[in-house]
């Protein structure tokens, strides 16, 4: 619980809150990229180097840019008229209640003082070895799933042919 953690967590939370509250959709997408960057640096801070860089590549490099593309393709650069106040209030109330329950559970649960093994880190070589030996089946399944998702996304987003009879 040191200063770096507070700074990184603050950047992440501020980015996420801005992404959910700003009016302009492009600003929302940029704030979302900031939140994803904060999460990636949190991974780096926690010692998961490969996962942090993968997070930066996949989320900031691909998903945030994809969201900007979709915003521009749908010409929805501005959110519509504001949502009805009771609806918005109930949604926020549900989220605040959820956070209250989670925070209460976290603060009141008995976490055994785990012996944190400082300095130990998992190298990319270890990750690759494990992926190719112990986790070969999940890896293959993820590969098949990504291929199926890619083909499905292309088919769904493809322009439909006009039925000319």
């Amino acid at each position: 619980m040191n200063a770096w953690f507070v700074v990184l967590a603050g950047i992440t939370i501020v980015g996420a809150a801005a992404a959910m509250m700003l009016r302009s959709l492009v600003h929302c997408a940029l704030a979302l990229a900031l939140a994803f960057t904060g999460i990636g640096t949190l991974y780096l801070y926690l010692g998961a180097q490969f996962l942090g860089l993968a997070q930066l590549l996949v989320y900031v490099g691909a998903i945030a840019v994809l969201i900007v593309f979709v915003i521009l393709l749908t010409r929805g650069t501005d959110d519509g008229p504001p949502i009805k106040v009771p609806t918005a209030l109930s949604g926020i109330l549900v989220a605040v209640a959820l956070f209250g329950v989670l925070a209460w559970a976290i603060l009141h649960s008995h976490v055994p003082s785990l012996a944190v093994s400082e300095g130990t880190t998992v190298s990319v070589r270890d990750l690759g070895t494990q992926l190719m030996t112990d986790y070969i089946l999940p890896l293959e399944i993820v590969g098949v799933m990504l291929t199926a998702a890619l083909i499905g996304a292309v088919i769904v987003a493809m322009k439909e042919k006009q039925n000319t009879q």
């Binding site: 619980m1 967590a9 809150a17 959910m20 959709l25 997408a29 979302l32 939140a35 999460i39 949190l42 991974y43 926690l46 010692g47 998961a48 490969f50 996962l51 993968a54 997070q55 989320y59 691909a62 998903i63 994809l66 969201i67 979709v70 749908t74 929805g76 959110d79 519509g80 949502i83 918005a88 109930s90 949604g91 926020i92 549900v94 989220a95 605040v96 959820l98 956070f99 989670l102 925070a103 976290i106 603060l107 976490v111 785990l114 012996a115 944190v116 093994s117 998992v122 990750l127 494990q130 993820v142 799933m145 998702a149 890619l150 499905g152 996304a153 292309v154 769904v156 987003a157 322009k159």
Partner: protein, 99 residues
């Protein structure tokens, strides 16, 4: 307050922000962004429990997070394609309007 508690609090706050956004925003793209934030909050928990766990020499937590990121990427691609397809029919990405 240990480091693990701080990580869990940050991730639950992130999850709540994502849930609030997914429930209150009208634009389908932002609803999807809220869902992405919730997935990321869950991912932070994996890494936090791996880092503060007794066996941080094992790569289990990182590998679980890696698969989770792959699934989230596939979900985002399909979700955005669906939003594009819906937009082509209704000329709108407003989730609150009736089709």
């Amino acid at each position: 307050m240990t480091g693990l508690t701080g990580c869990l609090l940050v991730s639950s706050l992130l999850f709540s922000i994502g849930l609030a956004g997914a429930l209150t925003r009208r634009n389908a793209i932002l609803v999807l962004a809220g869902i992405e934030l919730m997935l990321n909050a869950a991912n932070i928990n994996f890494i936090a429990f791996w880092h503060f766990g007794p066996h941080s020499g094992a790569a289990t937590g990182i590998l679980f997070g890696l698969f989770s990121i792959a699934v989230a990427a596939a979900e985002a691609a399909v979700g955005l394609a669906l939003i594009l397809a819906v937009y082509r029919h209704t000329k709108s990405t407003d989730v609150s309007q009736q089709l």
